[in-house]
Every structure is written in structure tokens, then in C-alpha cells.
């Protein structure tokens, strides 16, 4: 992987305890390289005069899970929400640099955000099902975008891929709000999948869930990467270690280090990364 953001840092010396990362059970093998889907090029995001993301460059590999970690307020959510232009709604926000999806600048005036969001789906921190039936939740996005195929089949497929079908197949017409938190989050994943996206952005999808529901979502993410590119923002390092192929560490709006997850957790190149993953701050 190309490591940008590193150039501006002073050279770091490795210390002896850098290998002591107790919670990663076994060092992950470095994943096989795949082409880049999203390419972020010196992106800065400003809220008024506050710089939330500072000259971040990174490549997101196809059909891999990329985790973005870092302490709260480090700009990781802002970065993620910039990828499908969910930040457009914030007044006074400014961008520099570029994000390219399949080689095309997503901020290009001719690029309709609706097209972008059809290909780049998103799952939010708190499950946010619509106050409609389970079926309508999954079918909604596909329906308004003029899905040509069989909607019922699409809903079933999406729910199956989200590992929710068995639990809800007999109550598709019931309100989605009656589901448990973990089920609601999987429903939101199904809802995103139904649009047949290429990329799924997940903004701390487990932070509102209990450990069992979290484990199920993590399993699901692991399965999803066979078909989708996943970008996962999390403040939970164990989670990043468990499910991601690549991990990017952000701090104060800057990308400090990005590498294959196995390497980041066993052999970080930057002192700051090492301090963070060994729990010295965060």
C-alpha cells in the first residue's frame, strides 16, 4: 500500500515493546492485493475554519475491509461521510483535494450524488430503520431508483445476504421498529445491499449494540467482503483487528499510518500508532 501522510512525520524509531499487542490473537496474513476502487487524494475537510480532515490520501482496495481507527474527533467519520457526500448537507463545510470513485472525481459538478450513493451505500452508527414495515425498508431505496427486477426476490436476497432472513421471513409486513437493535442494524445493511452497491461505508455500526449482536455484525462484514468493498470506521481496535484487511490510523485529522492490518497491529511504523494501539491514549 502507498503510505501517504507519512512523509510529513518526523522519522520514527521502533522501540522494543512495539510488538506487544496483546489482543490480536494471531498476526493476520497480509491480504492479496486487489485494485483500488476509491482513491482519496490529499483530501482536506473544513468546518468553517476548523480543519476536520487534513490532506489525507489513501487507496481503498476492492473486496477488502478497510478499517479507519483513531480517537474520537480524529476526523474518521468526517472522512467516511465525505466518500458518499453525506457531508453536503452541513452548512459551511469546505473541501480541498479529491476523492475518486472508479477514477471519477465525486465532487465533479456533473456527478450526481444520487448516482454516487447508489454505488456507495452507507450504514450508520445508530440503526435508523424507517418507521415502515421490514419489507418496505429493504425495498424502498431500490423502488425509488426504478429497480427493474422482482422486488420481492430482491428483498429476500438482501435479507439473506444480511443474515436476517431466517429471523424475519414470517413477519415482513411488521414494523421494523419492533426488531431488536442488532436486527435493526442488519436490516439497515440489507437495505443498503438491496441497491446493489459496490462499496459499503459503515460508520461505527456496532457502537450501539451489545457484544452478541456485535459479533454477528462482524461475522456478516467478513462474509460481505466476498462481494463488496467495505470501509469501516470504528473506535474499537479489537474490532478493526478482527475484521479488517487494512487499517488506517487517524489522529487530529491526519492519516498517521495505513497498512495491512496484521502489520499495523504487530509492527507499526509510527510511534503514535503504536501508542494508540497499545492503549497509551485514546
Amino acid at each position: 500500500m502507498k503510505l501517504t501522510g507519512l512523509e510529513v512525520r518526523p522519522p520514527m524509531t521502533r522501540t522494543a515493546d512495539s510488538v506487544r499487542t496483546s489482543f490480536v490473537v494471531e498476526p493476520k496474513p497480509v491480504p492479496e492485493r486487489t485494485p483500488s476502487v476509491i482513491s482519496i487524494d490529499r483530501l482536506s475537510v473544513l468546518y468553517g475554519t476548523h480543519v476536520a480532515v487534513k490532506e489525507v490520501s489513501m487507496e481503498i482496495a476492492e473486496r477488502r475491509v478497510t478499517a479507519i481507527i483513531g480517537p474520537s474527533g480524529c476526523g474518521k467519520s468526517t472522512l467516511l461521510r465525505s466518500i458518499n457526500r453525506m457531508n453536503d448537507f452541513i452548512a459551511g463545510i469546505g473541501f480541498q483535494g479529491a476523492i475518486r470513485f472508479r477514477g471519477r472525481d465525486i465532487r465533479d459538478p456533473g456527478y450526481d450524488p444520487i448516482d454516487l450513493r447508489r454505488s456507495v451505500g452507507m450504514v450508520f452508527q445508530k440503526p435508523n430503520p424507517f418507521p415502515k414495515s421490514i419489507y418496505r425498508n429493504v425495498a424502498w431505496g431500490a423502488a425509488i431508483n426504478g429497480y427493474r427486477g422482482d422486488l420481492t426476490q430482491l428483498v429476500e436476497d438482501a435479507l439473506k445476504k444480511a443474515a436476517l432472513w431466517e429471523e424475519v421471513k414470517d413477519k415482513l409486513s411488521q414494523s421494523a421498529l419492533a426488531l431488536s437493535g442488532g436486527q435493526q442494524q442488519r436490516l439497515c445493511i440489507a437495505r443498503a445491499i438491496a441497491l446493489q452497491p459496490e462499496v459499503l461505508l459503515m460508520d461505527e455500526p456496532c457502537s450501539a449494540l451489545d457484544p452478541i449482536a456485535t459479533a454477528r455484525i462482524e461475522d456478516l462484514i467478513d462474509k460481505l467482503k466476498a462481494q463488496y468493498t467495505v470501509v469501516l470506521v470504528t473506535h474499537n481496535m479489537q474490532q478493526a483487528g478482527r475484521v479488517s484487511d487494512y487499517t488506517a490510523f487517524m489522529y487530529m485529522g491526519e492519516l498517521i499510518e495505513m497498512d495491512a492490518t496484521g502489520r499495523i497491529f504487530t509492527n507499526p511504523q509510527v510511534r503514535k500508532t503504536q501508542d494508540y494501539i497499545t492503549g497509551r491514549f485514546g
Binding site: R102, I114, D115, R118, N145, G146, G149, Q196, P197, E198
Partner: protein, 311 residues
Amino acid sequence: MSASDALFEPRKQRRALVARLFHAACVLITGGAVVVLGVLLYRVWHDGSELLSLEFLDRFPSQITPEKAGVKSALWGTVWLIGLTAAVAIPTGVGAAVYLQEYAPRNAFTRLIQLNIANLAGVPSIVYGLLGLAVFVRWLRFDRSVLSGSLTMSLLILPVVIIASREAIAAVPNSIREAAFALGATRWQTVRHHVLPAAAPGILTGVILSMARAMGETAPLIMIGALTYIRFVPGGTHEAAPGLAGWVGWFGEAIRDPFVVLPIQIFNWAEQAQPIFHKLAAAGIVVLLTVMLILNGAAVVLRAFWQRKQP
């Protein structure tokens, strides 16, 4: 583009067009509301400016020489009515809000009071007029006086005062109450020294807005019989004896005087067929709206001042 595109026919142009039309409709509608307000103000000013003068404020209404009519009795009637209404409705309304927000146990009776207040707020104002007519004018024999009018008006705006005050009190953070209790304060000391001062700007705004409403209300006062050509102001026909007792006596007489208020005077003029009366009505409306604007402005200024005083 992506492989999934074959599966969708997003018809984005049509969707975007519908969305743009809808947006335009919303802008048009909201702009329309502003235009209506503009037309209203312009019409009133256009019709009334001819008769507006300082003397207009200092002349009594007249059937015989309408061109020399004025709003003196109505203006002073409004001042008396609002003053008395404020004196009755504000303490009662704030008291009720304090009770409901700070003292009331959470039981069925409290819920009943709350539901009742919400329903009272929706009772048509003319019904309050009938209540005032039956209770204050006839039963308590206050006759068609400022006193009857302001008691009726107090009951009418009480729900508004209570609801606004409750919102202001509810916005006071609980930590303030806990801090005061922890220092050994009684409930009333907590309310008196901490909660009410903190809620005061919000209460004040709500109270002034409700006073503005009382100022514009017409129907209930017509019911209690405030509609007459009155050529004196309350208390204007009596002499106050010297001393406090004399003043109190005069005040007691004054509040039993018949009266008229600005909106009723306006109604009375607007009802006449001749154009001169319509001009008088327009001029009266300008006076009424000006007084209301001053009151609303005072609310904004007082609130800003109060908020600055508090850290």
C-alpha cells in the same frame, strides 16, 4: 459504470424535475405568506394614513363628526384592560406553572389539570365571553366594566401564560435545583432564588406575547358588552380624594367604569357602511398594530438584557 446499472432505471431527470417543481412551489407559498403580510400592512397604512395624527390619539369617537373622531377612550381602555389583565393573569399563570412543574405529584389528578389546560387553550374566545357575561357581569354584578373585561381576559390567556411559563421552567437544568437542595434550601427557596430567575427571560417572552394576544382579542369583550360609543376614559369622570385611601377609592370606582378597547372600536368603525368610517378603522388598526409592535419589541429587548445580566 457499474454492473448494477442495468438493473435500475433511476429516471433521475424526471425525479429531479418533480423535485425542482416542488421546491419552487414551497418557495412560492412561503413567499406568498410574506407578500400577504406586505399587502395587508400597505392597505391599512394606505387607508388610514390620511386620518392619522397625534390628535387622533387624543380625541373621542363621534358618530356625528366622524372626521374629528379619535381613539382616546379605546387607547386608554386598552391600557386599563391590559394592566389589570396582567396583574391577575401573570401571578396566577406563573404560580400554576410553578406548581405543575416543581410541586405537583405525578398522579392522575395532575395529569387531569394538564389535559384540562391544553383543552382550555383550544376553547373559542367567544365562549370565554359568555362565561364572563354570566359570572362577572351578571352573577358577581361587576356590570359591563373594565373589571369584568380584564377578569374574562385573564381566564382567556391563562392557559397560554401557563404553557409558556412551564416550558421556560422546564428548560432550567436540574443541576441548579439539586445544588440548591444540597445546600439545605427548601423547595420554595430553590424556586424563588434559582429556578424563577433562570426561567425569567422565557417566562417574560411568553407573558408579553400573551398580553399582545389579549390586546387583539375582541369577541369576549363584545360579549360582556364593551361595545358602545364611550366618550370618557376609565376613572376620568371621578376625582381622586387626597391620600392613599382616596386613590384606592378612585381606583375602585375606575375599574367599575364602562370601557371600550381598540379592537372593538375598530370593529365598530369597520361595520359602518360609509367610507369615512373605514378610514377611521384603518387608522385605528395602525395604532393597535403599533402598540403591539412596541410590546413585542419590548419583549425582545428585555429578554436580551436579562440574558446578558445572567452569566
